[in-house]
């Protein structure tokens, strides 16, 4: 197969995504359904957390995708800034709402999961707080794309925002840890990397994580196709107006 850069060409991208999209979408649906059904119906309750442990099958995959989506946007933005491939910029734009929704799911499942432990529907846990801040970054990014008329200008400005935002997002993560160090030490509600997790949980979790990843891919493929079409429509409209 020739270089991946071939697909920077919109026509080639449309052709590739034309068949890749339904395949990815179906796989994603299948894996998510399998993983969630497995996790919900066929895993035991946790000794400490009771049935709330079943929430990890939603919380962990969505939290992971919330971060990965931003990283993908960052890479796509860099590719745009350096190599000026429109498909890359449009893919970043398409990823925004998907990442934002994943962040929202992570936030809500995280908050709900913490309810039995904290007794409130929201806790300013460093992890949750970092995700809330990330959500704000997503909103700003999406808003900037919508606010700017010219597509190339929008691509340039949102790319720079994504770059700068990434640095500050990382800084905010450490700030949130510093900010909430004193409270609830050790009683973090999310699955810490060192936790001994049984295979009974790990397997359905991996299935869900893969499913969410494929869902992200499918939605970004679909979104990028729409953006490419919208761009072409805009060009046609301009040409039409110029003739009139």
């Amino acid at each position: 197969m020739a270089s991946l850069w071939e697909y920077a060409n919109p026509v080639k991208f449309m052709r590739l995504s034309g068949w890749l999209l339904p395949v990815t979408a179906l796989l994603a649906a299948g894996l998510i359904a399998t993983g969630l059904i497995w996790g919900f119906f066929f895993t035991p309750d946790d000794y400490r957390q009771g049935s709330t442990v079943k929430i990890i099958f939603l919380h962990v995959p969505s939290a992971l995708m919330a971060i990965n989506a931003w990283v993908m946007m960052l890479v796509a933005s860099l590719i745009w800034l350096i190599r000026r491939h429109h498909v890359s910029a449009l893919a970043a734009r398409a990823a925004g709402p998907v990442g934002a929704t994943m962040t929202l799911i992570a936030l809500m499942t995280g908050a709900i999961w913490g309810q039995p432990m904290w007794g409130t529907w929201w806790a300013w846990d460093p992890r949750l707080t970092s995700f809330l801040i990330l959500f704000l970054f997503y909103i700003g990014y999406i808003a900037l794309w919508s606010a700017i008329e010219d597509p190339d200008t929008a691509a340039d400005l949102t790319s720079v925002l994504c770059l700068v935002g990434s640095v500050f997002a990382v800084l905010s993560r450490y700030a949130a840890l510093f900010w909430n160090q004193g409270l609830h030490q050790g009683a973090s509600l999310s699955v810490a990397p060192g936790t001994r997790m049984d295979m009974t949980y790990k397997l359905p979790l991996y299935v869900c994580m893969t499913g969410f990843g494929l869902l992200f891919l499918a939605l970004v493929l679909a979104g990028t196709r729409s953006e490419i079409r919208a761009r072409r429509a805009r060009a046609l409209l301009t040409r039409e107006r110029a003739r009139a």
């Binding site: 034309g18 939603l58 999961w113 039995p116 679909a222 729409s226 046609l236 039409e240």
Partner: protein, 56 residues
């Protein structure tokens, strides 16, 4: 077939409902938007009497 969720039934079910709801809403939004843009492009292209150049 519903497992015994014990005292946390509300929380667990709420979490699943919210997540699946948001995912469904997202998929729906992406799909409907895609359909709308595709239709608009087709409309514009036929108006300008051009054959679609292989995009689909």
């Amino acid at each position: 077939m519903m497992p015994d969720l014990g005292p946390y039934a509300t929380e667990v079910l709420l979490a699943y409902a919210v997540s699946l709801g948001l995912m469904a809403a997202l998929v729906l939004w992406v799909w409907l938007r895609g359909r709308r843009i595709k239709a608009e492009l087709a409309r514009l292209e036929s108006r300008l009497n051009r054959s679609p150049n292989g995009q689909d």
